[in-house]
Amino acid sequence: MATKSMTETPDGPAAAAILSSAIGCLVIGLMTTGAEISAGLKAALNVYDPVGPLGGKTLVGVIAWAISWGVLHNMWKNQDVGFARRFRLSLWLLAIGFVLTFPPFFELFAAE
């Protein structure tokens, strides 16, 4: 198999897809903890009463994911951007996102 001919696609599109998924997860985490810190944000995220703020938190996360993917993809679609570095950054964002959605963490900020 000819290795060189099989790696012609730049790594930018892969880096954009992975980093944007991590950004979306981070934003879901930020909304989750943010809603505990700010009653105003919690109320604003309540886009549909039966679902409560969960609907807004996840919608904002999905919108952030879609927009960041579009922007990063357009920036990087024809470039090699250092996939390993972008992947490591994605792992950090995902780790922070996981922590921000973990109840023992975000309940530290809950109003009594």
Binding site: M1, T3, C25, V51, L54
Partner: protein
């Protein structure tokens, strides 16, 4: 034997779509791990790439449908507020759990974590599916990218596993009926 529409939707959400997701994960992980040039012929790479492509998209679509049905269809029944003066909270799972100190953690920890972290799965799974589709046979010789996809795949599974496990246990403690 009959089931309410709430029970049907809970079944579709958890046992149907959730199970498809977990099965697709197992196939996708095995496919990605073994997608390496030293183990495959050139025609094997092409055939495996097509199969992998299908598997990861099935996983991504199942993740989206699981989260959408869970959040927008099943969850409102779970968190429905009982009318003033209701003493039997069995039909109001969230309030039933919170009313019982021995069960309250199923809501305050399990449901609170599950409902948020579950949404990581479709985002990550879609990224994996896109990269598999975009790079196809190239992944066989891009070890670094393939390894990264395996890590992302496992993280997507971990998020879904938290949601699936807690979903099953919460349903056992306080079913949506």
């Amino acid at each position: 034997m009959s089931m309410t529409s709430q029970e049907w939707w809970a079944l579709i959400h958890g046992m149907g779509l959730g199970a498809v997701y977990l099965l697709a994960f197992a196939g996708g992980l095995a496919g990605l791990y073994s997608f390496r040039p030293e183990w495959l012929t050139e025609s094997g790479v092409a055939e495996r790439a097509r199969r992998l492509d299908w598997g990861v998209w099935v996983m991504a679509i199942a993740a989206w449908l699981t989260c959408i049905t869970g959040t927008w269809i099943v969850y409102p029944w779970y968190r429905a507020k009982p009318p003033e003066g209701t003493t039997d909270l069995a039909d109001f799972p969230r309030y039933f759990l919170l009313d019982n100190p021995n069960l309250a953690a199923w809501h305050t920890f399990a449901m609170e974590w599950k409902e948020h972290v579950a949404w990581f799965a479709p985002l990550i799974a879609t990224a994996v599916a896109y990269v598999v589709w975009r790079y196809r046979g190239e992944l066989a010789v891009r070890k670094q990218m393939r390894d990264a996809l395996i890590v992302m795949f496992v993280l997507a599974f971990a998020a879904a596993a938290v949601a699936g496990l807690f979903g099953a246990l919460i349903t056992k403690a306080a079913p949506v009926a």
